[in-house]
């Protein structure tokens, strides 16, 4: 299975490398690539960068460079960064370091607070509606084993479904998300992992599981992924 994914990676990377940009006219600017890493960057911005760099080896190299840099464990950079507040005071009144006026700070804070309160009210107001929608839709909640728990014997997997289903299918994956086992149709809302499947699990490894509901052979809903660690 792992070689299966490796093969897909190899082929896709070959595809991605097959059409280098003839010129850099259509490439995003360096600032656009850097900005796309910001948490506040829009989904559209990120999508544009991904779509582009998947076909442009030059931009891909730059993108990967930033990914590597962000993944590097060096925390010295943060340590070396002086505190912003101190710097603002150091040269207040001059261009770059000029702190925003007190009025604008206050206005910004007030606006932020208003938005926060409004969001909370909106969330509370919408919650009931969401619940109704969910119950008519496809929510399956995994009950046991609790996500992140360590198990030492074949677990009894239990779930709760808010939708009508003919049967459920439980799927088990390893840490790389490769399928390990798929159950047959299950009528109940629980299933003990067969001991022969459990015997194949590697101690110390994390496994993921999820449940999909079916009505008249069509999938009607699915759970989030649950996670457990095996110990023997």
């Amino acid at each position: 299975m792992s070689s299966d994914l490796d093969r897909l990676k190899e082929l896709f990377q070959g595809y991605a490398a097959s059409s280098p940009c003839p010129s850099r006219e259509g490439c995003p600017s360096s600032a656009e690539i850097v900005d796309s890493f910001e948490p506040r960057a829009s989904r559209r911005q990120k999508t544009r960068i991904i779509e582009h760099m998947a076909r442009c080896p030059l931009c891909r190299e730059e993108f990967m460079m930033l990914v590597e840099q962000r993944s590097s464990k060096t925390s010295a950079a943060e340590a070396a960064a002086p505190s912003q507040a101190g710097k603002c005071r150091a040269s207040a009144g001059a261009g770059l370091l000029r702190p925003p006026g007190v009025f604008w700070r206050f206005a910004g804070a007030l606006l932020g607070l208003t938005l926060l309160v409004w969001s909370l009210v909106a969330v509370v107001h919408q919650r009931d509606r969401w619940n109704v929608l969910r119950s008519g839709g496809a929510t399956i909640r995994l009950l046991a084993p609790k996500s992140g728990h360590t198990i030492s014997r074949p677990p009894l997997c239990r779930w709760q479904a808010k939708t009508v289903a003919d049967f459920y299918v439980l799927e088990l994956f390893d840490g790389s998300l490769l399928p390990v086992w798929t159950s047959g149709p299950v009528r109940e809302r629980e299933l003990r992992l067969p001991s022969e499947v459990y015997a194949r699990l590697i101690p110390g490894q994390t496994y993921f599981w999820m449940v999909t509901s079916y009505l008249e052979q069509a999938p009607t809903g699915e759970s989030q992924m649950g996670r457990f660690v095996v110990s023997r």
């Binding site: 990377q13 590097s72 912003q84 710097k87 040269s91 261009g95 770059l96 370091l97």
Partner: protein, 182 residues
């Protein structure tokens, strides 16, 4: 002797406060791999900061801004370096093209397979396609989650669904992409 202007004083202050920070930020890149000189990047970053000071731009978070300037400077230096090298590469590429054979059945088959996989990936729905593309380009789930600003669970879920769709598309296209063991 001429007195330094306000902008000059401010720039000096920034360099004094953030100089070490800039160096550390530059060192976090594996620059030797790309043949880049850290000093060139620092110089480029200094020029950009000086220009910002002169334009009297107001920046809310100076460390974040400087970090961005350094990152952009690294990429621009890489682009500059590539431009400088491009003529040499173009010439080399021309020579190689002239000396290699026109057609190789095995590589043509592989190329067709790559094209098919690429097309199958393009058929995925947008949210899954982004995750699958990044995963196939060798990013880890953590790196993808961090870039897309999603939880690892959500990323994992979309990746799993995307890969399943991709395999289904390939199956529908009757493509056998797995290499048979000999």
């Amino acid at each position: 002797m001429e007195r330094p202007t306000l902008a000059e004083e401010e720039f000096k202050q920034i360099m004094q406060d953030f100089g070490p920070f800039m160096k550390v930020e530059v060192q976090r890149f594996n620059l030797s791999k790309y043949g880049l000189d850290p000093e060139d990047i620092l110089q480029d970053a200094r020029i950009r900061i000086w220009q910002s000071v002169q334009r009297e731009r107001t920046i809310i978070s100076l460390p974040a801004y400087i970090k961005k300037i350094v990152n952009s400077a690294v990429i621009d230096q890489l682009r500059k370096r590539r431009r400088d090298d491009s003529l040499v590469h173009l010439e080399q590429h021309r020579c190689v093209s002239e000396t290699t054979n026109g057609y190789d059945r095995e590589s043509a088959r592989k190329k067709a397979m790559e094209e098919t996989v690429g097309r199958a990936v393009e058929r995925l729905i947008s949210s899954r396609r982004q995750v699958v593309k990044l995963y196939l380009l060798n990013l880890t789930i953590q790196e993808i989650a961090s870039y897309l600003n999603w939880s690892p669970d959500k990323t994992r879920n979309l990746l799993y669904r995307g890969l399943a769709d991709l395999k289904q598309h390939l199956k529908d296209m009757e493509v056998e992409y797995e290499q048979r063991s000999r």
